[in-house]
């Protein structure tokens, strides 16, 4: 970052973030200690920290240790996400190039698309109960949309002159699809993966809040039922940390993959 254009004093730039972060926790702690905010409404940072250490090994009162909740949430999110990738991306790519595929798949897709994924939760409970399957279905339903749309748009943006040129070489529709449309669509597809992941994670927590017997959303819900604000806050923090963590991993994977692509530049 170029600090010269932003701040004259680089020292204050280094200190300022720490001041605000530490200040945030101090004010939070003081609000609770002085009982300006009653303990029944919010837990103090110290209490949340204590619970964090306790929940590493203690499954009570919600039935599982913190790691188990986190892993269950991760598995649900990743399963739904991966299912969305392997169904949505091929579908979007095919829709982008083959008129028949577009004609068949587009109307039902457009009909279902405006329904927010969270609205599927009650039906998912009927169909799959409150176990993993229902959540995987909901994650799939929300993550598949950006996968399809971005793959479709990516193919549509393929350079038409490249396609004509391939035609003059006698390329078949299928050859044009695999050799031109798919590589042209890749940058858009990666963009779709990012959007899908963010959607998947937020939708998962919503689903777990409503119907679950484990997971980070369930930890939050149990905190509400047991009137334990410290459990709620711990759950919220874990959701944030885990989401930030996966976002970083995907970012890294994408950068590595597109670095390979960018040797050739995205498009002319």
């Amino acid at each position: 970052m170029n600090s010269e254009t932003k701040l004259k004093d680089p020292l204050s730039l280094k200190i300022a973030p720490w001041v605000s972060v530490i200040g945030f926790f101090v004010v939070w702690q003081l609000l609770i200690d002085t009982e300006i905010v009653p303990r029944i409404l919010l837990a103090s940072p110290v209490e949340v920290g204590k619970l964090l250490i306790d929940k590493l090994t203690n499954p009570d009162p919600d039935g599982a240790v913190l790691m188990t909740h986190t892993i269950i949430s991760l598995i649900e999110a990743l399963l739904g996400y991966i299912l969305a990738l392997i169904t949505g991306i091929p579908l979007g790519l095919l829709m982008g190039w083959f008129v028949v595929a577009e004609g068949l798949a587009r109307p039902p897709f457009e009909m279902i698309r405006p329904i927010p994924p969270v609205a599927w939760i009650p039906l998912a409970i009927f169909w799959f109960g409150i176990g993993i399957t229902g959540k995987v279905f909901i994650i799939w339903a929300c993550a598949v949309v950006p996968c399809v749309i971005n793959a479709y748009t990516g193919v549509r943006m393929a350079n038409p002159t490249l396609i004509q040129m391939a035609r003059t070489y006698g390329a078949s529709d299928w050859q044009i699809f695999t050799k031109i449309c798919i590589p042209s669509a890749l940058p858009m597809v990666f963009g779709g993966l990012q959007i899908a992941l963010a959607l998947a994670w937020t939708t998962l927590v919503a689903a777990e809040l409503i119907a679950a017997d484990a997971g980070l959303g369930y930890l939050i819900t149990m905190g509400r039922r047991l009137l334990r604000p410290d459990m709620i806050v711990l759950g919220m923090i874990m959701v944030g940390l885990t989401g930030w963590f996966i976002g970083n991993i995907i970012d890294r994977i994408e950068r590595r993959l597109t670095a390979g692509l960018e040797r050739g530049g995205a498009a002319t």
Partner: protein, 256 residues
């Protein structure tokens, strides 16, 4: 000189573009009849928007004529095919493929084995003077080099006819001269039937065995034909060259 086997025969071609509503019709070409003999270098000259690119695209099979037919070796053209190689005005390279990958693309589509197509592609990469750049990606090449790749790719596929659509229109003047020289050299090394579209009379006189001009307004009609008998390699400042150029310019309403 060329032998006299007819390669391409255009019979009474016309093309009318319809706007989407179907109400506005734009006649682009009218009663074009034209033939090109084997190994002839034919240049079609006309100003912008005179239908010359459309004519070339009809011959390539990328557009269907409203009336008339195109024949290649006596067979009617019904669509694009590997017997006609096209070099487009815009650099049409695969950005994610190397020079080698681009040049061998047509052969790969045609199903040639990897070893064979490497050999053929290398030959034409050398012919256009790009040896050493086989592994470079298009974004690492200059405009002139990109069009060299395009020419190598068209040649590598061994088409019966090469179609070039203002291939040097995007290049700076110096590079354009150089590429004209290179085109003439490559063509003298490996003779092909060539149809070359340009808006530059100078470029036409430099390259052509025969020049046809199109009228400067729509619908495009054939105007005149000039046979260029100057010895090769040609010089832009030879007296005969300048006279020829002058004659054509005088008789053509080109804005140069």
């Amino acid at each position: 000189m060329t032998d006299q086997t007819t390669k391409i025969e255009c019979q009474n071609l016309s093309k009318i573009f319809k706007q989407r509503s179907g109400k506005v019709q734009i006649p682009v070409l009218e009663s074009i009849s034209l033939s090109v003999v084997e190994n002839e270098f034919l240049v079609i000259v006309g100003p912008g928007q005179c239908g010359k690119t459309t004519l070339l695209r009809i011959i390539a099979g990328l557009e269907t004529p409203t009336t008339g037919k195109v024949f290649l070796d006596g067979k009617e053209v019904t669509g694009p095919g590997p017997d006609r190689g096209m070099v487009f005005q815009k650099y049409t390279l695969f950005p994610w493929k190397t020079v080698m990958g681009n040049v061998e693309m047509g052969l790969k589509i045609g199903g040639m084995s990897k070893r064979q197509r490497r050999e053929v592609a290398s030959h034409y990469i050398n012919l256009v003077g790009l040896q050493g750049f086989e592994k470079a990606y298009p974004h690492q090449l200059s405009g002139g080099m990109k069009q060299r790749v395009g020419i190598a790719r068209a040649y590598a596929n061994n088409p019966k006819v090469l179609l070039l659509d203002e291939p040097f229109g995007q290049l700076d003047a110096q590079t354009r001269y150089l590429m004209e020289q290179e085109t003439a050299r490559i063509w003298s090394v490996e003779k092909k039937t060539v149809i070359f579209v340009t808006n530059s009379i100078e470029e036409a006189v430099y390259l052509a065995d025969r020049i046809v001009t199109l009228e400067g307004k729509l619908p495009g009609r054939l105007k005149s034909t000039y046979v260029v008998n100057l010895p090769r390699p040609r010089e832009h400042i030879d007296k005969e060259f300048l006279e020829m150029r002058h004659t054509i310019t005088k008789e053509t309403e080109l804005l140069l």
